[in-house]
């Protein structure tokens, strides 16, 4: 019924169009939209989708995540809305079993990866998309924590629970961006003890400590060596902030007759040397060159500025571990999103993965 109405109104998303026709869809393509106002009185049983249908819908949406036909904003916008509709159907039916836990985990993962990818997009509406995405991330995460609690029995263990709790800590590194959430000090009070003692939480708390104390070297290097892909996606925006702090400290306390070598800075901050130079320039600082062509940052400059928020261009982490595995992280994560398998925390066996993906492609090629 909704499909017909939207066909008439031409309110079909790109993914729902049959052969690109904005006026036509099909039961396979059309996905229920998020509805802001629902009147319970006129709601019928047929309007709300049962759990297995919702699971299939979620699978379908996750498959779209790596679609290359359209720009990421379009992909994100569609999946964002339709997932929200799934959550709406779930909460209307008050379903909270362990299958829902798995669904929410996948949706939270989507929001985290989206946040990461949106940062690399440009466009006038990116910042509002980002903001809304973050809002839904927090809401879905909060619901997920309630679901864990509701499904906690002496036998059940949710494999990913500790990692999902670590996300909360990493999302609240900067106490100023709290919003209406609880401060970490309060939040820690009701985290179950076994979660607090997990590896993932210890990592997150270590990162929090480095952030609060301003230990920029430890912050960046520990992230590089220990963060999982999803944890990295969340920490990413703070990395720039920490780099800016490092530059400020070096400029403030560095011995003026000994300008700081950019090579050393690049290792410290895990950036390419040319990126360090650009970063310094973004912060209003000049760099210098010596006779042998080595680059330096002279200290005690008075022109240091602190560009707010997104003005600092993000330079990716120069990391062998991430570079090697980034594509595979993405592909494996999409796979995990699609089939709901547990997310691996440790390094992937990339050779095995390469072989596997290679053989999948070869197989596909044969069957074509």
């Amino acid at each position: 019924e909704e499909r017909e109405k939207r066909e008439r109104l031409r309110d079909l998303a790109v993914f729902e169009r049959l052969y690109g026709n904005p006026r036509q869809s099909s039961p396979n393509l059309a996905v229920k939209k998020f509805c802001r106002t629902i009147s319970v009185k006129t709601l019928q049983d047929s309007d709300v989708r049962p759990l297995s249908v919702l699971e299939d819908t979620l699978n379908y949406l996750c498959n779209l995540l790596d679609s290359t036909e359209h720009s990421f904003e379009v992909v994100h916008d569609f999946i964002f809305d339709r997932m929200r509709s799934i959550r709406q159907d779930l909460s209307m039916q008050n379903i909270s079993c362990s299958r829902v836990v798995s669904m929410y985990e996948r949706m939270v993962k989507f929001h985290i990866i989206s946040q990461h990818k949106l940062r690399r997009c440009s466009g006038s509406n990116i910042s509002s998309l980002s903001y809304l995405n973050m809002e839904q991330l927090m809401k879905a995460l909060a619901t997920l924590y309630n679901l864990y609690e509701a499904n906690r029995t002496s036998e059940s263990i949710f494999e990913n629970e500790a990692e999902f709790f670590s996300f909360y800590v990493l999302l609240h590194l900067d106490s100023k961006t709290q919003g209406t959430g609880e401060t970490l000090s309060l939040w820690f009070r009701h985290v179950p003890s076994h979660i607090m003692k997990s590896i993932e939480m210890y990592f997150a708390r270590k990162i929090l400590r480095y952030f609060k104390l301003g230990f920029y070297k430890n912050f960046i290097h520990t992230t590089e060596s220990e963060a999982s892909y999803l944890q990295y996606c969340i920490i990413e925006p703070s990395i720039n902030e920490v780099r800016a702090l490092a530059i400020s400290c070096v400029n403030y306390g560095g011995y003026k007759p000994q300008p700081f070598p950019l090579l050393a800075l690049s290792k410290l901050l895990m950036m390419k040397e040319c990126d360090v130079e650009s970063f310094c320039n973004d912060s209003g600082l000049q760099t210098s060159v010596d006779e042998e062509g080595n680059n330096f940052l002279p200290t005690k400059q008075t022109t240091l500025i602190h560009p707010k928020g997104g003005l600092h261009k993000y330079y990716p982490l120069e990391s062998e571990r991430f570079e090697r595995n980034c594509e595979f992280y993405m592909m494996t994560y999409v796979e995990c999103l699609t089939y709901g398998e547990g997310v691996l925390l440790v390094d992937f066996k990339s050779d095995l993965l390469r072989t596997r993906y290679g053989s999948i492609m070869w197989n596909y090629d044969l069957r074509k």
Partner: protein, 414 residues
């Protein structure tokens, strides 16, 4: 829990006695008597004997309606009787529900009374609402149900607050109710709800903070001080908790201990150490090693102390505050190294090799490389904990000849 045998006559007498007591108290504006009447949770004997009578008698409503002087308060008395009965039979959920109805009816009457004569009784009502709700929730939890009575108590007390928040002599009661609300919100963990109440108290023009009773002001400052600690506003936290400490009754040792539990971490973060005697007197031994680590610049001891009492510190919410003290412990360590060097060679003392610091840390069982140490030195300098500069090429930190370790007192590290 069986009530002893009562004759119907005796039961009837007890009920009417109570009703007379109530209406006398109201007509003569005797707040103290009313207070006793509502103090269910403290189990005064006359209430216990009344409850027995009610269980035996079973028809209290008829008695209430018999005379005008009682029937006008039927809305209060009937649910109060139900509450007493249920409480006696340990049906705590039903007891709370009935009590809330009685409390609500009383609040409406209170609103109609011109003067604030019954304020003390209203305090008792607020207190009992909270306590009975807590007990009801415990009963619900133990039966596997969701505890929601305390949350309801919070909503009810907000209504009571609204009744008191007006011009006139009743408004001095608002702070007491606020404190009851704080206790509820802290217990439930819904601490963000405190904001709306504090905003009313602090910004509404009808309230003058100095007018409130001292006891309530101390409690208020204690809770809002704790909120400032959680939000890491340390100078505000210092101000509020110190107020609470300075104005707290010196005989109330338990209260002083509670205040100190939060004030000590705050004072530590501005470089003020408590005396060991203070820690001993109020049994705050969990801070002993932390203070010692601070004095000695002993990072290993700090980390060990945090680990040892981790659960306790996490529960009270001061863990993150204490973790941040690490910077100051580094400062003290550096100062120790400087003093030792000064004894060897006065002139060269202010130049400290980074390698030396690495070795000192290794001796404290902390593994760090030269880059990490340089990073920490640069942060200490940046935050003005150390005056001087660091030279990357020479791998040395050079302290200022004058006042290289500025005192922190008064300034907060941020």
């Amino acid at each position: 829990m069986a009530s002893s045998y009562l004759s119907m006559g005796e039961a009837h007498r007890r009920v009417t006695d109570f009703l007379n007591r109530f209406s006398d108290a109201v007509s003569s504006q005797d707040a103290k008597s009313l207070c006793l009447i509502f103090s269910i949770s403290s189990n005064p004997s006359f209430l216990l004997s009344l409850s027995d009578a009610l269980i035996t008698f079973q028809d209290a409503s008829r008695v209430i309606r018999q005379a005008d002087r009682y029937s006008q308060y039927a809305d209060i008395l009937l649910p109060l009787f139900r509450a007493l009965q249920s409480y006696r039979l340990t049906n705590l959920v039903e007891s709370y529900q009935a009590f809330e109805k009685a409390a609500n009816a009383f609040t409406q009457e209170f609103r109609n009374w011109e003067s604030a004569w019954a304020l003390e009784a209203l305090y008792v009502i607020a207190y009992e609402t909270r306590i009975l709700a807590e007990r009801a929730d415990r009963e619900l939890s133990s039966n596997g149900k969701t505890p929601e009575k305390l949350k309801g108590a919070g909503s009810f007390l907000m209504k009571v607050f609204g009744v008191l928040a007006g011009k006139g002599s009743k408004r001095v009661g608002a702070l007491y109710v606020t404190c009851q609300l704080f206790k509820i919100y802290f217990k439930l963990g819904t601490v963000h709800l405190c904001k709306s109440v504090t905003r009313s108290i602090e910004t509404a023009r009808i309230f003058d903070f100095e007018e409130f009773p001292l006891r309530d002001k101390v409690t208020y400052m204690y809770y809002t001080g704790r909120l400032e600690v959680y939000n890491e506003n340390f100078s505000a936290a210092d101000h509020k908790l110190s107020y609470a400490l300075n104005h707290c009754n010196p005989w109330k040792e338990r209260n002083i201990r509670m205040i100190l539990k939060y004030l000590i971490p705050v004072k530590l973060s501005i470089g003020i150490l408590p005396k060991t005697s203070l820690l001993e007197k109020y049994n705050l031994t969990e801070y002993n090693n932390i203070v010692l680590a601070f004095r000695r610049g002993d990072l290993r001891l700090l980390r060990h102390a945090l680990q040892e009492h981790e659960d306790q510190f996490l529960r009270s919410g001061v863990y993150l505050v204490l973790e941040k003290l690490e910077l100051q412990v580094y400062q003290r360590l550096l100062k120790k190294i400087y003093i030792i060097q000064k004894q060897k060679d006065q002139n060269k003392a202010h130049q400290i090799k980074l390698d030396l610091i690495v070795r000192a840390l290794k001796w404290l069982e902390i593994d760090m490389d030269v880059d990490e140490v340089e990073c920490i030195m640069s942060i200490l300098i940046y935050k003005n904990l150390v005056k001087g500069y660091f030279a990357h090429k020479s791998k040395v930190v050079v302290l200022s000849k004058q006042d290289p370790f500025p005192r922190l007192t008064g300034k907060v590290i941020n």
